[in-house]
Structures are given as structure tokens and as C-alpha cells.
């Protein structure tokens, strides 16, 4: 397929690539933060279980 976008195609590509990159960065930054927080939640759950176990043993 041969598409004729007209003159200045390289700037059009650059503009759309920049838009895609910024959108991707916004989404990726949220996804990474979600993942880190879920991991922290797991860690908190594990710590709570350990504390409860320790208390049960000491009592």
C-alpha cells in the first residue's frame, strides 16, 4: 500500500509519535505505580500475618 499523506509527512509522523510517547508515558507511570503499590500491599499483609503469629506464640 502506498499512502500519499502530502508534503511534510516527516513532521506529521514526528507529531503523532510525540503524542503517542506522552500518552504511553502517562499510562506507564500509572501502571508502574499501581504495581509497586500492590507489591507493598502484599508486603503489609505478610508483615501483619507475621505479627499475628508472633503474638499468638508469645501468648
Amino acid at each position: 500500500m502506498d499512502f500519499d499523506f502530502g508534503k511534510y509527512t516527516e513532521y506529521m509522523v514526528l507529531g503523532y509519535a510525540a503524542m503517542a510517547l506522552i500518552l504511553a508515558l502517562m499510562i506507564a507511570s500509572m501502571a508502574v505505580r499501581f504495581r509497586v503499590l500492590r507489591r507493598q500491599q502484599e508486603e503489609i499483609r505478610r508483615l501483619e500475618a507475621e505479627i499475628a503469629e508472633e503474638r499468638r506464640r508469645s501468648s
Binding site: 499523506f5 502530502g6 513532521y11 507529531g15 510525540a18 503524542m19 500518552l23 499501581f34
Partner: protein, 238 residues
């Protein structure tokens, strides 16, 4: 941290809709609509440039609503809503600026010029970037929320300034698509046919994308707060 199934389903549906709309919008802008006679392919940037500006306008406008609502109710949920909108609005404004620069290079023969519109949009972006810096600089949550609410309302002046500037300053070279200008006080909308249809579709698409991103960002902020509270609970038990 749990949400109702219906809301989660709605968010999932909206997210899928945003992706589908985005793909259709790209197809319309890149393949369906023909090249503009004078600007060629560079004109196709216009669809995402205007769409992302609408997105930032919606987000920053919602931050004003959030600010007013917070000051009236002192409900921290409004603070979360405001923060989410400012963060997403900043991303959308960054798209507007960068796509504008890639359009300006072939059309104006420069990436950037201190034109009134370009200067005002740069000020707008910096004003909202300062919102995030302000938040990170205040430790007391109640004080941070109050300051952020007030700042979010005041910063909207930069958005209005950006919209109005090209209509009152005769020395701007930035094109005006709709509404009155110094040169044409009665105003006009010189976009028709496929260009108009593609433009409206992309405006709608970016509005939906903004709403979806803000909603996800709100959920992220809720999770941040939840994890922070749980950490404090565990620490107090030690």
C-alpha cells in the same frame, strides 16, 4: 480497597471505548481525510493538537470544580479529584505543546517563537506543574489540600488567558479556528467537510481519553492513601 462491580465494569467499558475511539480517530486523521492544500501532512497534527487541548481544558476546568467543592465541604475526595485532573491535564497540555511545535517547524519555519499564544500556553503548563510542586512541599495534609484547592482555582486564569489571548492580541501568528478575532470580530468557523468531521471525532475521543485517565488516576491515588494508612497501622502494631 474495594469498588462496586458496576463502577469497575463501567470504567473497564470506558477504557475499551477510549482505545477503540483512539484507533478510529487515528484512522480518520491519517487515512480518511485528505491532505490540506497548503499545509500538506503537517495539517493532520491539528486533530490531536486541538483534541489534547480540549482534554487539558476539561481536566483543568474539573480541577476548579474540585477546588471549590473541597473548600465548601473539606472532603478529601475532592482533593483527590483535583490532583488527578491536574496531573492528566498536564500530560494533555504537553501533547498540545509538542504537537504544536512539530506543526510550527514546517509552517512557521521554527520549532518555537515567543508568540502571545505560545507564551501563554507555556505559562499555563508551568502554572500547573507548580501545583504539583506546591503539593509536594507541604506536609500537613489538611493544609496541602486547602492550598491546592485555592491554587487549582487561581491557576485556571492561565487557561482562560490562553484561550482569550489570540482573540485580543492582533500580533499573534497562531491560527484561530473558531470564534471572533481582532481581524474578524463577527467570528467564523472555517472548517468543513471531512476535516470538520475528523476534528469533532478527535475532540470527542480526547475528551473520553481524559475522563478515563482521570478515573484511573483517582483509583491510583485512593490506593496510595490506602497503602499509606495500612503502613501506619502495621507500624503502630510493632
Amino acid at each position: 480497597m474495594t469498588y462496586s462491580d458496576s463502577r469497575t465494569r463501567l470504567l473497564r467499558g470506558l477504557t475499551i471505548a477510549a482505545v477503540v475511539l483512539f484507533v478510529i480517530g487515528l484512522y480518520l486523521a491519517l487515512f480518511w481525510v485528505g491532505p490540506e492544500r497548503q499545509q500538506g501532512a503537517a495539517q493532520r497534527i491539528f486533530y490531536v493538537h486541538l483534541g489534547s487541548f480540549l482534554g487539558s481544558f476539561i481536566a483543568f476546568g474539573a480541577a476548579v470544580v474540585a477546588g471549590i467543592a473541597y473548600l465548601r465541604t473539606r472532603n478529601p475526595r475532592w482533593d483527590t479529584f483535583g490532583l488527578a485532573n491536574v496531573e492528566v491535564g498536564l500530560g494533555m497540555a504537553a501533547i498540545t505543546i509538542v504537537t504544536g511545535m512539530t506543526w510550527a517547524r514546517p509552517i512557521w519555519n521554527t520549532w518555537w517563537t515567543w508568540d502571545p499564544r505560545l507564551t501563554s500556553v507555556a505559562i499555563m503548563w508551568l502554572a500547573y506543574a507548580a501545583y504539583l510542586m506546591l503539593r509536594s512541599g507541604i506536609e500537613d495534609p489538611e493544609r496541602r489540600q486547602r492550598f491546592a484547592a485555592v491554587y487549582g482555582i487561581i491557576a485556571f486564569a492561565s487557561v482562560l488567558f490562553t484561550i482569550i489571548i489570540i482573540r485580543v492580541r492582533p500580533d499573534t501568528i497562531h491560527p484561530v479556528v473558531a470564534g471572533p478575532t481582532q481581524a474578524d470580530p463577527t467570528g467564523s468557523f472555517e472548517v468543513a467537510g471531512r476535516i470538520r468531521d475528523t476534528l469533532f471525532f478527535n475532540l470527542f475521543t480526547f475528551a473520553v481519553i481524559t475522563v478515563v485517565l482521570v478515573w484511573h488516576r483517582i483509583r491510583l491515588e485512593n490506593l496510595i492513601q490506602h497503602v499509606m494508612r495500612r503502613k501506619l497501622e502495621v507500624l503502630s502494631e510493632l
